[in-house]
Assembly symmetry: C4
Homo-oligomer: 446 residues x 4
């Protein structure tokens, strides 16, 4: 029979993984109970045992035909897969799958039968595979890693509590007080004791009396204390990481407010600055665009920037006729700036060195005394493009109406880009010349 190489991220493979995961959990719960209650492995349980063996054997076959990924590269070579499987999980998978009980029970030897019963514990080796399965499911579903980590923590704690409870039942001699308990109560009381101890609550209504019990309790307490410390450490770590963006932002704000207090900055300026930080937090969790994009490799950065700005750039008259490469360079050199409501973006008469593109929010073009609003420019608009041609004084005052996310492009950067596009630079120079002539004419008229 020729089995094809499976893709580890395929739906059917993930499904199989989940089945194995559920079966592993089932046997982890059932097998210790069988052993503690000395349940006979017959009838339904025997069928279950045989079924488990068969499924686990099938799993070995499937695992040895599943491709694996090495640094984002999917290895589908059969020999490599085999070598890797042999070196990693094959032995435990085989021991977990081996039908010891079926084989040994043929001999009808009571000693062998006891060994056969004990051999069931080997099935629990399959627990080593839980982490891998979870890892695969996480990869294919893109689940929140903190959630996964928390769930796994709870899962392992419950598994550990179950195993400890079963062990405690096996060695617990509680003659006077609670006897005779039926099986369920016995397990319940044992699980109750385990949880009470592991959580360091320690009611003390169940406590060890024999030496064996005492030793067992000491070991569980030591494990429990470590485990509890581990849980608290993990929760503290998860909390610290959840809040990391927020706390970095608060740290920044605290710095600024301390500084402002120290310098006796007037109240309204303080409120304005504090509102600005609130806006940064609400609109982008305090992150700053340029630092985020600079980590990406250039092609990805270009893709993101193009997506964000191509439309607006192509509308600018002076960029008409520029080729694709030029537009790309311009977009990669845009500089994000934020204006808070009431900020002067451009003041009439000032000499301008940059043009602006509005990405979000709106600005008012106002008269010098701010009494008349000539126009309101919204997202997708641009202004100040003359500054890229010649350093003339601004011919209008522009004031932010609300919080504005803009991009600026300054003359210096623009000139540097032009150097690399000589034909287009020529065209721009002509445009500037024409503009200058117009401006001079206007000034003469005045």
């Amino acid at each position: 029979m020729k089995i094809p190489i499976l893709n580890p991220d395929s739906h059917s493979k993930i499904g199989w993984d989940i089945l194995i995961l559920i079966l592993t959990i089932a046997i982890t719960i059932i097998i210790p109970l069988i052993m503690v209650y000395h349940l006979p492995l017959s009838g339904f349980l025997l069928v279950f045992d045989i079924l488990i063996s068969l499924i686990f054997i099938a799993d070995i076959l499937i695992e040895s035909h599943t491709a694996y990924s090495d640094q984002r590269e999917l290895i589908r070579d059969k020999e490599k897969i085999m070598n890797r499987y042999m070196g990693m999980a094959f032995v435990t998978d085989l021991l977990a799958a081996f039908p010891f009980f079926m084989i040994l029970s043929f001999f009808q030897n009571p000693l062998l039968l006891r060994i056969a019963l004990l051999s069931n514990i080997l099935r629990l080796l399959k627990l080593f595979r839980v982490k891998r399965t979870i890892g695969r499911i996480r990869n294919s579903k893109r689940l929140n890693p903190s959630f996964i980590r928390m769930s796994l923590l709870i899962f392992w704690i419950l598994i550990a509590a179950h195993l400890i409870s079963c062990a405690w039942m096996a060695i617990w001699e509680d003659p006077a007080a609670l006897n005779p308990l039926n099986a369920e109560s016995m397990y319940l009381r044992s699980f109750y004791w385990t949880v009470t101890t592991l959580t360091t609550i320690g009611y003390g209504d169940i406590s060890p009396s024999t030496n064996l019990e005492t030793i067992f309790v000491i070991i569980i307490e030591l494990i429990g204390a470590g485990m509890y410390g581990f849980i608290i450490g993990n929760i503290a770590n998860i909390i610290a990481n959840i809040d990391i963006a927020k706390s970095q932002y608060q740290e920044k704000m605290e710095k600024v407010t301390t500084f402002l207090r120290y310098k006796n900055i007037p109240h309204d300026l303080k409120v304005k600055i504090s509102d600005y930080y609130d806006y940064l937090w609400e609109s982008r969790r305090g992150y700053d665009e340029s630092s985020i994009l600079q980590d990406l490799p250039k092609p990805l950065k270009t893709s993101v920037s193009l997506f964000l700005n191509r439309g607006i750039i192509q509308k600018v008259p002076i960029f008409k006729g520029a080729n694709e490469e030029f537009i790309k360079e311009v977009i990669l050199n845009l500089n994000p700036v934020v204006f808070t409501p009431g900020d002067y973006v451009v003041i009439k008469g000032e000499i301008g060195y940059e043009m602006y593109f509005i990405s979000r929010g709106s600005v008012d073009v106002v008269s010098e005394d701010e009494s008349i609003v000539y126009a309101t420019l919204g997202a997708g608009s641009f202004f100040g493009e003359i500054a890229l041609l010649l350093s003339a004084p601004r011919n209008a005052t522009i004031k932010a109406k609300d919080y504005c996310d803009c991009y600026s492009l300054d003359k210096e950067t623009f000139d540097q880009i032009l150097v690399r596009f000589p034909e287009f630079a020529e065209k721009i120079r002509e445009m500037a010349e024409k503009r200058r002539a117009e401006t001079e004419e206007k000034q003469k008229k005045k």
Copy 2:
């Protein structure tokens, strides 16, 4: 009836929110007690129940007419508000407000009556609104976020403890020891047990005996341990964040002292450096001005800088006649420097490249052998302005008298600014020429 759209930050809306909050807490305390003690819903309690229903219905109306803010923008559009409310809190608000008891009790059917009693639990759904209300109150009052976070933690723990206590009362069978307890003692003992368990103290004087009790205790213990870990994690996180400025500063100091020890720096220099760091901490929590201002957008940065320095800049003779824009540029390019007592700011004969403005503290103008103090300059003074015109040697020694926060402006930066203000640059050049002539004349005289 036409209801106007309400502002979520208005005083009356916040007042209503607080009323709802208090009522929510009240019903969270009262309803579980009613159910555990099987109190008849008649008389005062019935009035209370009807009142709650009415107020909660009013709340639905008010909520569906309250504007909401989306990234600092207040959305007042009725349809959008409706859609948002429907998609978020409407169902829970409706279930919490619905007068099940009143309606079902009409039928006089004992089964329906029991359902009616149970339906009271639905009122607790209003608890989901606490977070939102607290958020709104925080926004309008600018409360300390760590304090809010701590208070909410305590609030939820007490609510949880109350609910757990009521549940424990309902299933607790304690026949021999403490019976018959009156209602208050019963609740007290139950609350005592809950707190003892949740804090992992676990005296063990009250412990489960029936299976139901055991299961309940296991669940509470698991929740309690998680909750306790969560509390400790939160407290650890809050402590870490409170001290973050201090610990960053201590880290910096530790670096420096390690380095100084390694290099066998003499003791008095070490004390001087350590005092300098103490000063930084006491005066500005170790933060450095330029790094704080650089995060702000340019208009805000300009406002802050202008507030801090305009007065002093305009006093400088060589800046007389400079226009507004020029002054702004100068101010944005000031560089904060700190001098410790005894530091030489300027030494006679050295060639100077920067001028200084004193923002805090004072300096002495001393003779070359430091025996004579010609003058003491305090906050608001400036010196070394000649350096911006020509690179002549300093004509006096200036020594810091105490810790001085100064701003320096260096010739290079100044020249770069002048490039953008050609008319003013011309004026400055003349001044420099004149100065040079004077200096040369002086030197000839000597």
Copy 3:
């Protein structure tokens, strides 16, 4: 009587502060015991009470004549001191000092006498001063802040435990089991119960039975759990801060080793790099000199750099005759570099652009085939100075013998400095000319 203004850091003031601190602790221990055991305030205790009153009144006088420091500036103005004291600690100090008992006991009225006894609690208000006193002692003794923080934590816990124990004694009714206990045992058992509860151990051998006790225990448990969380949070924070240098260094190392593993770097290179990091850690806790010095203001930086390097700089022949300012500039522009054993610092024939000063360790001047060691240069030596004059090929190979801390000075920086010292630049140019002539002559000979 005219009291002079005291210096808060003077030895006698610190001594007085310590006395008040000890008395505060004493009354915090004694007064609750007096109240719980209903000890009569007569004899020795009465003398003690009067003494405390007198000392605390004296303390008010002293405090109101102690200068205080505001941002490193000592405020000695009497009115300012008074205003500050009135606004801060005066009321609590007065209440703590007021001899209520003495005054009220004159009236011989049993009710007033009881009030007088209760008024003793007001003395505990002095506890609010502990933090201030500790702060002062710390400032004058420069104690380790982590140690102080830990000690204060322990101090407050013990004080809290004592107060809780006394309160528990007052309300504890333990008729059957442990009665009649003598006073010491009673306190001991109570303190034992407090500690057992606060540490969340909760043996349960002492547990509440009356409603009052139950309420008290609930409150203590809630406080205790919070306190315990606070302690753990603090310890975790202190541990994190103690290890911050180490963990930053380990983080760096981990980065590097991960990278080396990923790139399959040969083993000996890996060991060399790992040894280099060990050296950095052992010699300077992983800190890097230039980043440390750059935080200091220029005069302090100059002082440190001058201390480290003046001697060696003045020995260099080409710097002979340079003035003080020039030497300072050179020193401020030295660049620290580390060489690991076997590194080639300079290779014969390479064109050199920097000179080196050895600050620690030694280098070998070797022949081209490394068979002959011409010389060994130790700390305080320098080499490669010709590179500052002209870009000639190196005339020897120099190899680090052990870990070498060096400073390099490159030609570019040197030329920039020269620009500011035109006369000296002239001298250097002549030297270079002469050198070039010599070299050319040599090459012609060859």
Copy 4:
């Protein structure tokens, strides 16, 4: 007898250290038991005691002849070693080695004999040496520091638990309940009590009754709570440090995804970016090569870079004939870049300014419409070298086939390097001239 100076890292010295470590642990376990059980120091125990004395005396001799390392330098000077040993561990080592029992037991005086027995405790002073020994073993074996730290924590806790158990046994009066216990059970119960208390579980089945016991328990509880806090703090710290690379990486990813969500970036671009970060994590734990190498001193950096790139550089035709120094400079100025599958590395017709070397992954050389794949270049290939000679348009489109780790070398950097190698620069200029001629000819043909 002349003892040679030993190397502290030699195998035999480490072996001896381990022997001493094991003996120290043994006596720490045995001596308290001897004292609690009042075992007679005769027979086997006497031999053991004498042996310990002899070995510890030998250890003093060995220690005083072991070189020590001071900042990576091995100090072998006998006098220095002696001074250092005298000032550090000699006194404790001597007290631990001194055969008090043997000497005092000669006198047959019962008082002296008791003192002799008590003096055994001095042997425990050897515990102070454990840290040093572990430090040495760690240095020679390069063990994981987190593992060492965890193991030491467990080791000290177990030692502390043992000592506390023995002390509790000595003062514990438990007349009614558990008497008469045999020695082993006694110790077991005592150890059980210690662990139950230190882990804050506190069953309460064993609790103090006498005053002495109560005081002892209070002290142990206070220590235990602190210890437990310390353990949790440590575990939390270790967890935080283990995950530091991961959490920094997650933080980065979170920033990017927040930004992408805010800007409504299309889904496929988001997946591409998220995959890119996954690749960075899987291939290099998110670290970035240039930032890692920049921390290394230049010779080490050169060694690593040469190892990584020499082969590939020498294959480039235009570098043929370049000397060693030139190649080094080029390698140090390579800039690592990553391309994700499908990225355009070079687009036909674009003007190129850099050449690329492939270090890992492969790229396709495709026709303008991407229909034909001319060639696939794998690791060790390079392309775009013409861009270093002249700024001609690219003559092919090159597209990343899978994740590609490349190095780029841009024309500007290349030109800067050439300045320092004038002869080679001449050669390169000729090559460029020839190339230009060829290109122009080609274009004429077209």
